[in-house]
Symmetry: D2
Subunit: 113 residues, 4 copies
């Protein structure tokens, strides 16, 4: 089974999310479930193209996948604001400003994507 | 390796795309490549969550995946308009109206997703 | 009352929409009504800023205005597809291809805006 | 000149933005300028419809207006996060959680509009 060349996403530690663990950790199983489902939807769309399914049906599945992806992103953002950003803001100083700026850039990418 | 329960996407024949093959057929290898890449990005995001990567890094990858997905959808839509819809319009009759209405509904979903 | 310097939108004749009048003409009063309302919403948002209204309330009104604008655009696009594009497609030739390409570029701007 | 019936946007005081003035206040002239321009664009689009301008030209202006509106919203959101939300977070307590939840709902509307 040809494995898909994953994007070499550097699973760098990523900046420590301030004092506590990342906001999403407590919901990790649920996020993994939703992302597995998204992976399955992506695979399903590939198979529709392989089987020459009608364009409109494929577009319908892509819109559904986009919405599912958007909802995962909104969930992660919510968790990040209520944990990482809030913790940093409570500790004050430059860290808080940096966290808010970083969160805003992520929000902008989400709005524009 | 636990296979991801694919969405039971009925690979229904789907309505025959009018007289000719679907618009995207001539570009099928390229679409399959891009969709394989999207699948890999989705898997990569799952792995980031598994490895407790920083929220913002995950959000960055999700925005990139959303854009890639949007571009595939726009490609399929372009092909569909220039082949399926154009063929139907040339043949005239109710089929053309139905095709345009169907294409518009897909565009609306894309704009709203 | 200081009139707002309108954008110098060239009310160029614009390319004749193929054989018939533009698709939206038959719904013109309704479009003008909706656009007047949108203008009023934009003015209302200006006034909220003038009156130092709370940021979130202003953002709520901007999201409502964006959705209203999107729906007007989708209406115009639907009319354009079912009239201008369909007429051109029926007449065939390069005009049809040009019309579809032009419509697709408008759809892409809409999806990406 | 028939004035446009403004949306009766209650210029309610709106919840006091925590201790300080709203984040956007220091940039108020710039926001008012941009909103005046947006109002002019909306009026320009009305006039294009009045003058039976070609559909695609109108759609192009609507996409430009949508982007301008989105950028004003992102600016307001950035100011709100860096002032209202940050101030509330520093003071801690339930106010901070409420502010973040409120900001997240505004972000969700923006992403989905």
């Amino acid at each position: 089974m040809t494995t898909t060349p994953d994007i070499s996403i550097s699973s760098a530690e990523g900046q420590a999310c301030h004092s506590g663990p990342h906001g999403y950790i407590q919901d990790k199983p649920r996020y993994l479930n939703r992302l597995k489902r998204i992976e399955g939807q992506a695979r399903g769309i590939s198979r529709m193209v392989e089987e020459d399914v009608y364009c409109i049906d494929i577009l319908t599945q892509i819109s559904a996948l986009s919405s599912a992806l958007e909802n995962v992103a909104l969930g992660l953002l919510d968790d990040h604001l209520r944990h990482c950003v809030l913790d940093a803001a409570r500790e004050g100083g430059d860290e808080a400003e940096a966290k808010l700026k970083e969160a805003f850039e992520a929000i902008k990418r989400l709005v524009k994507s």
